[in-house]
């Protein structure tokens, strides 16, 4: 495929989305810090960041609609605009999940985080990072690989769940803390998969699987 330059209105939309991604990245680092060092007071910071992400998502959708009315894009430009609307939603959702983890860290004042929890989180975060690199880089092949690696996070999540389903000696809040956090991570990583689906549609025009 010939590399075509994006029109100005798309460049502006992508710039906006990169800023959103920066916010998600910094929120993600906060949570990494929180999980490693058991920080319990991250809720306020994360709430602020997610609100900003939410506003930016609404702005991005506005920009996309205006682009469609004004420029009446076709083919790759049309796909790029519709993908941008979906991916900006995914980004704001990811931020929401990060905030949920911060809430859980604050509410569950426990000392029993599973040793596999942090690695699972980092794995999920890496997936998200890679999926957005593939999206901004319009790399359909890399996006396909990410969709395949969704399994890894799913299995990690199941492993943690099983461990706590079997255990009887652990406390209820322990089970809840690890279970719910793992669940959130798994859902977060799903969005990386959704973003990758959009990347493939954007580049090739084909929709693979279903959301």
């Amino acid at each position: 495929m010939m590399a075509l330059k994006d029109p100005d209105y798309l460049v502006r939309i992508y710039d906006q989305m990169r800023e959103m991604y920066n916010i998600v990245e910094s929120a993600g680092s906060e949570i990494d810090d929180g999980l490693s060092n058991k920080k319990r007071n991250l809720k306020t910071t994360l709430t602020e960041q997610c609100q900003e992400a939410q506003i930016m998502e609404e702005q991005t959708v506005e920009m996309c609609i205006e682009a469609m009315i004004r420029h009446q894009p076709f083919a790759r430009d049309l796909r790029a605009v519709s993908a941008a609307m979906k991916v900006s939603y995914d980004l704001s959702r990811i931020c929401r999940y990060l905030r949920n983890i911060a809430e859980i860290l604050e509410e569950f004042d426990v000392e029993c985080d599973d040793p596999d929890l942090l690695p699972l989180y980092r794995e999920g975060r890496k997936m998200i990072h890679l999926s957005l690199e593939a999206y901004f880089g319009k790399d359909a092949k890399a996006a396909a690989d990410i969709i395949k690696s969704d399994e890894v996070v799913d299995r990690g999540y199941e492993a943690i769940l099983n461990r706590y389903a079997m255990a009887e000696k652990k406390s209820g809040s322990c089970i809840l803390f690890n279970g719910i956090t793992a669940r959130i991570i798994e859902r977060m990583a799903d969005h990386a998969s959704y973003i990758s689906h959009e990347t493939i549609y954007l580049v090739t025009g084909r929709r693979v699987d279903y959301r």
Binding site: M2, L4, A75, L78, R79, T204
Partner: protein, 251 residues
């Protein structure tokens, strides 16, 4: 829907210059196909080969086959018959100024055959209604065809073509000289007309092609690059050239 019009290995020249290169395509009946492409790509030449108007240009030459309902229009039909079965609407409205509105509508019938006065009146009314002009002109039927507004004139020309009950109607940028309101009326009309006939419409306006057509044919430098369903072509064209054209990268 059967194949109404088929083109096989069509080549066309103006003297030494080749305007169409080995074009092959099929068009289904009761459909609207948009013909798009940058200036000089051969769109006009292409449709003029379908109603045998290309050959009247000095030093023009055509090879290949054009089949209307399976019959070759070059070898098995007389040129005049072809033009009665394949109508044309031009870029600038061209009603005959020396004839009234009614006479314009039935001009093709009157000048080529013998019909009674009442028959012609009925046909004029029927076709004016078909293009949505009847209500607007029914009190001014005797006025010159050229006294109507631009948009009305073009619809009159469509009625005139329609009156011949053609199998195919060719349109060469029919709305490019009209204001937006008239353009909308003509575009809506196409959806009605395709019930009676098959339409090929040349347009420079990619959005118009997206709005009015079922299929789209993209031409470039005399070749048919891509022919496909409008909906999928405008979301994800197969050919990179097509993509570049419809996203406005050139043309």
């Amino acid at each position: 829907m059967e194949t109404k019009l088929e083109v096989k290995n069509l080549n066309a020249w103006f003297g030494e210059k080749q305007a169409l290169k080995n074009v092959s395509a099929g068009f289904k009946g009761n459909s609207v196909t948009a013909v798009i492409g940058p200036s000089g790509c051969g769109k006009s030449t292409f449709i003029r080969c379908i109603n045998r108007m290309h050959e009247v240009v000095p030093r023009a030459r055509v090879t290949g086959e054009v089949l209307l309902d399976g019959v070759d229009i070059y070898t098995s039909m007389d040129a005049m018959d072809v033009r009665r079965k394949v109508g044309m609407v031009f870029q600038r409205p061209n009603p005959f100024p020396n004839m009234s509105v009614v006479d314009n509508v039935v001009a093709g019938l009157k000048l080529a055959g013998s019909y009674g006065k009442d028959e012609l009146s009925e046909m004029a009314e029927k076709n004016l209604k078909a293009v949505g002009l009847w209500e607007e002109v029914k009190d001014e039927l005797r006025k010159s065809g050229a006294s109507l507004s631009g948009g009305q004139q073009q619809r009159l020309c469509i009625a005139r073509a329609l009156a011949m009950e053609p199998e195919v109607i060719l349109m060469d940028e029919p709305t490019s000289a009209l204001d937006p309101a008239s353009t909308t009326k003509v575009e809506e009309l196409l959806q009605q007309l395709k019930k009676f006939t098959t339409i090929l419409i040349i347009t420079h306006n990619v959005s118009q092609a997206a709005r009015v057509s079922d299929m789209t044919a993209f031409f470039y430098l005399g070749e048919l690059i891509e022919l496909g369903e409008t909906e999928s072509m405008f979301k994800a064209p197969q050919n990179p050239l097509t993509e570049r054209y419809i996203t406005g990268r050139f043309g």
